[in-house]
């Protein structure tokens, strides 16, 4: 009974909040309902830290949607919602398994008992076969009879015809009903989330620590050879990176004399290539220290070289950061330039977790777990902030105005543009920039239903009301 009520309310709420509406405060309301519904069905695990954390992440990204509604906040909202459902299904799993469990429940939750044969199939029961046919007959035959006789009576009785014509079913919106059914289906899928048992059990039983193997002489020799190859490789890569860093220092010291185009190339191509090289470096370290090399007694030199390489890679990150910073100072902020900074921050964390992996003899799964969790947290925090407004404010104050770029950031930067007296000009979007998303339409953006509430649209609407008629 409780289940039926939750599913029905879920469907009706889904249709009321999302049918023909843009995302706004509806995401926050639906998330709140989802939390209450899951709390009802899973009281016992409500206060687990992973569930509290993912619930807060889901609600805060929903708040970000109703405040500025950037594409990142929407992406973070979906990621957080899947994660929340996944953690309710299994609160001790890794973050990527929680996403997998969340997706599994959102799409296939209703079939969980069927997948795991939790209830026996009901084939071959004659009662059911008769019942299905009987139901069809019960509905079909009277319906046909009623329609036929209604047509006949309508022709023979003008009063009846008039009464029939007066009946107006135009208020029934079939698409609304379809959306409600879809919402009920989604709620039926997620009202009692269950994990993918095999994957979740494997994940929960997989430790972060590497386990030493008992090796015979031949295997020991092979591991020693591997360690030797690793040592020589990392030594060569250290020397190469030292040379690269010297040229980086030379480049950074001569940067004042360089043209903007050269600086731009250095940042755009150089940054991506350097980041790929650092990610590859992490891969090489993870590969060399994947197993028994960690437990060799005389691997101290290899470890030291690895720490040096991690340190040098960190220096490379710092040099990229300086280049990007100089580029921002010269040409202003953009989403891409902020993205590079975020990427560099993630890389530093990746280097640190790799250092921990080597020091504490941890496995690759540890790297995957920690780095994905940190990556998600950074994305979730990044999505809370209205970067378009910050970029616009910074660029205007620093006098680095690129009209077409600032126009492309609408509507998230609308309030800043308004404050600076540029909104009326920029909102017309006449600079000829090719937009990848739909161009900004003020009328559509401001005239929103309550479900689509957005703080920026609300403020713009208030400003319009204040204008003298």
């Amino acid at each position: 009974m409780k289940k039926t009520i939750i599913i029905t309310v879920g469907g009706l709420l889904f249709a009321s909040l999302f049918y023909t509406q843009s995302l706004g405060i509806n995401a926050l309301l639906y998330s709140t309902f989802l939390m209450v519904a899951l709390a009802i069905s899973r009281k016992e695990i409500l206060l687990k830290s992973s569930i509290i954390f993912s619930g807060i992440a889901m609600l805060s990204s929903a708040v970000a949607i109703s405040v500025h509604g950037s594409a990142w906040s929407i992406a973070a909202y979906f990621l957080s919602t899947l994660m929340y459902i996944g953690y309710v299904a299994s609160y001790r799993s890794s973050i990527y398994v929680s996403w997998l469990n969340g997706f599994y429940n959102a799409v296939f939750g209703i079939f969980h008992s069927f997948f795991y044969q939790l209830e026996p199939p009901k084939i071959g029961e004659p009662k059911k076969k008769i019942a299905t046919g009987q139901v069809i007959k019960l509905i079909g035959i009277p319906s046909v009879l009623v329609v036929v006789f209604t047509v006949l009576y309508r022709s023979s009785n003008p009063v009846f015809q008039k009464a029939l014509t007066a009946i107006d079913f135009s208020f029934i919106d079939m698409l609304w009903i379809f959306t409600a059914v879809l919402g009920a289906f989604i709620m039926a899928n997620i009202h009692d989330p269950q994990p993918i048992k095999e994957v979740t059990a494997r994940d929960q039983n997989y430790p972060n620590q590497l386990v030493p193997n008992a090796l015979n002489d031949l295997q020991l020799k092979s591991v020693a050879n591997e360690s030797q190859i690793g040592f020589i490789s990392i030594l060569c890569l250290n020397i190469l990176l030292c040379l690269v860093l010297i040229t980086e220092i030379l480049f950074l010291t001569s940067i004042t004399d360089l043209e903007a185009r050269i600086l731009s190339d250095a940042v755009h191509q150089g940054v991506y290539a350097s980041i790929v090289s650092i990610v590859l470096a992490l891969g090489v370290i993870a590969f060399i220290f994947r197993g028994d090399v960690n437990f060799l007694k005389n691997n101290q030199k290899l470890r030291t070289l690895t720490y040096i390489w991690i340190g040098l890679n960190a220096l490379l990150v710092v040099s990229i950061c300086i280049k990007n910073y100089i580029y921002i100072q010269d040409h202003g902020l953009t989403h891409k330039r902020i993205g590079v900074m975020v990427y560099l921050f993630l890389t530093i964390i990746g280097l640190f977790t790799t250092y921990l992996k080597v020091t504490h003899r941890l496995n690759f799964v540890y790297l995957l777990r920690r780095n994905m969790a940190v990556g998600y947290v950074i994305i979730a925090i990044y999505a809370l902030i209205n970067w378009s407004a910050i970029i616009t404010d910074h660029n205007i104050k620093a006098d680095k105005i690129d009209q077409s770029y600032l126009e492309s950031l609408l509507p998230q930067n609308a309030l800043v543009l308004k404050e600076q007296g540029l909104y009326d000009l920029y909102s017309q979007q006449k600079s000829g920039y090719r937009y990848y998303s739909d161009p900004y339409n003020e009328a559509i953006f401001i005239n929103r239903n309550w479900q689509e509430f957005n703080w920026i649209a609300h403020q713009l609407g208030l400003d319009h009301e204040d204008l003298p008629q």
Binding site: V107, F111, F114, F115, Q117, P121, K122, I123, K128, T132
Partner: protein
Amino acid sequence: MKTFLNRLQKQNRISVQLAGISFAAETLDFLLYVASDYEPFISVGLGILLLAFLINAVMFLIVMANFFLGFVPFKEALFTIYILLLHIPIAVLYSYIALQFV
């Protein structure tokens, strides 16, 4: 997965497998198009979509007929039909994203 598929009745197993194959083909074509921006992939995608639609429509009718004749348990039929219908939003999503690039 294999064990689960083996549990299904033959026509349902084939339906699920065909839906999986057409989903994989569409996804591959979509990813190739997004990665390369090579327009003939759109035509190939439409071809795959048409073929998948025809095959899945036939399988859908077979599954429905079997269900109404009482040869298939309710949940198994529902699951198979769901997998066949799941194809529609995925195709719409791929087409929508691909059209943004054109």
